[in-house]
């Protein structure tokens, strides 16, 4: 199957759980070197959509065409690490990893070389997310999928994490698909945005989406104004 410059094509995907419509006729494409972010309120079906793309759950209807030999890596939502299993960062990064040739480069790039001997449960939220990102990058992915990577992080950790993600995107041919609540961060860095609330409410460039009536009805006019201010600040050069 040839999919032009699309690496993933999602067509009319529906998900029904316990007679509840989680996703309704969702269709979109992810292109080469794309940076696509899915936003939407809690319970909108964002994580379910990611899990369908990853093959973790099967859709009730619809199809997902994935380019042949596409290497997909996944950074899960903030996870609770149990103390019951003793695993340090170094062990975790190399666990079930076929290729560790880029290990040294990646740990330096995301600045985790000093925490390699720490147990996973001893990590702060920001450190853990960087480790999860590092593990995903070891696979040298064509598509990196991030599920709310900055959830539960303090502002400085959020900024640091998004900075790393942006730098990674700019310095590689990798595509990124991200689910996020952090509208400020999303609108300033992503190429395309999909606003999801069981179905695709609106999609396009960030500057288009935040003016869309459906976006305003979901997130409120305050958020729209805040984002437009933020966007304005970053889109203009000041002498």
């Amino acid at each position: 199957m040839k999919i032009d410059s699309n690496i993933i094509k999602i067509s009319d995907v529906c998900l029904n759980v316990n007679n509840k419509n989680i996703l309704n006729n969702v269709s979109f494409e992810i292109k080469n070197n794309d940076f696509l972010t899915i936003i939407g309120p809690n319970g909108a079906g964002k994580t379910s959509l990611l899990k369908i793309i990853l093959g973790i759950i099967k859709p009730t209807k619809g199809s997902i065409e994935i380019q042949n030999k596409l290497n997909i890596s996944y950074v899960p939502q903030y996870m609770n690490i149990e103390k019951s299993i003793p695993v340090n960062v170094d062990y975790f990064l190399k666990l079930y990893q076929k290729d560790t040739s880029s290990f040294d480069e990646i740990i330096q790039r995301i600045s985790i070389e000093k925490i390699l001997k720490k147990q996973l449960y001893e990590l702060s939220g920001g450190e853990l997310q960087k480790v999860l990102l590092g593990k995903a990058l070891l696979d040298k992915p064509d598509l990196l999928i991030l599920d709310e990577p900055a959830q539960n992080l303090d502002i400085s950790s959020q900024i640091e994490l998004y900075k790393i993600i942006n730098e990674l995107y700019k310095s590689s041919n990798m595509s990124i698909l991200m689910v996020s609540h952090d509208l400020h961060m999303v609108m300033s860095s992503t190429k395309r945005v999909i606003c999801l609330y069981h179905h695709i409410c609106c999609a396009g460039e960030p500057s288009f989406v935040y003016q869309n009536p459906e976006f305003i009805s979901i997130f409120g006019s305050n958020m729209s104004e805040l984002i437009s201010l933020y966007s304005h600040y970053h889109n203009h050069k000041h002498n």
């Binding site: 899990k51 093959g55 996944y74 899960p76 996870m79 019951s84 340090n88 975790f92 666990l95 593990k135």
Partner: protein, 265 residues
Amino acid sequence: MEFEIIKLFLTSTAISVICGIMGCFVVWKKMAYFGDSLSHSAILGIALGVSFNINHSISIIFVALLFSFLLIKMQTKTSLSADSLLGILAHSSLAVAMIIIAVSNKSEIDLESLLFGDISLISLSEIIFIYFILIIVIFTINRFWQQLILLTINNDMATARGINKTKLNAIFIILMTLTVASTIKILGSLLITSMLIIPAATARLISKTPHGMVITTILLSLFSSSLAILFSNKFNLPTGPSIIALCAINFVLIVILFKKFKHEN
């Protein structure tokens, strides 16, 4: 007498390794109650085996697998939590087992040895069976080690990497079933879970990696069981409870030493 002692050491070595490996996974996956419930269902297996003249190991494996299958089915069909379902299944099977034992009126069922085990009753063919199970456990865990560890840390991450969660969970349940079937005669239904949990929990306090924890658990189990055999033989004590009592003493000593070491550092 010497042959009996060698038999006891051979048996305790095998169960130390089997329970050491599987015990770590029970602790990591927080499945202590599952192990406990499985050992309760094993009594029903023995009761059925005696009543219908079937080999006990086969009837235990059959009942324990049926138990696990019912648990998985009920988990998907009801909103009840896993521990409630385990409680229902474990105690129902225990009750049915007691009724079958009472009705069958077979003198060969000794309730005390069912609950607490009796290592001295072990036959040579049963020792061979335990070693056969030991080889299966070591081979399977070694084959799926990395997948099992990643799945234990995070389900979604493992599944996204192409790890078949259903297959691995089924493999784990089968290994647990074989562990219970091979050790129930020695440790009894009430003490199997202790042998799975206490050495692993002790090892957790002093381990930095999963490999390290498995090796430490096996060494602690070997130490406790060997010492228990010597003590029980010398002072005419029940072997199964002696093994568990020594495991518990080890746990307490290591907790104290660990706290002291942490305090000093």
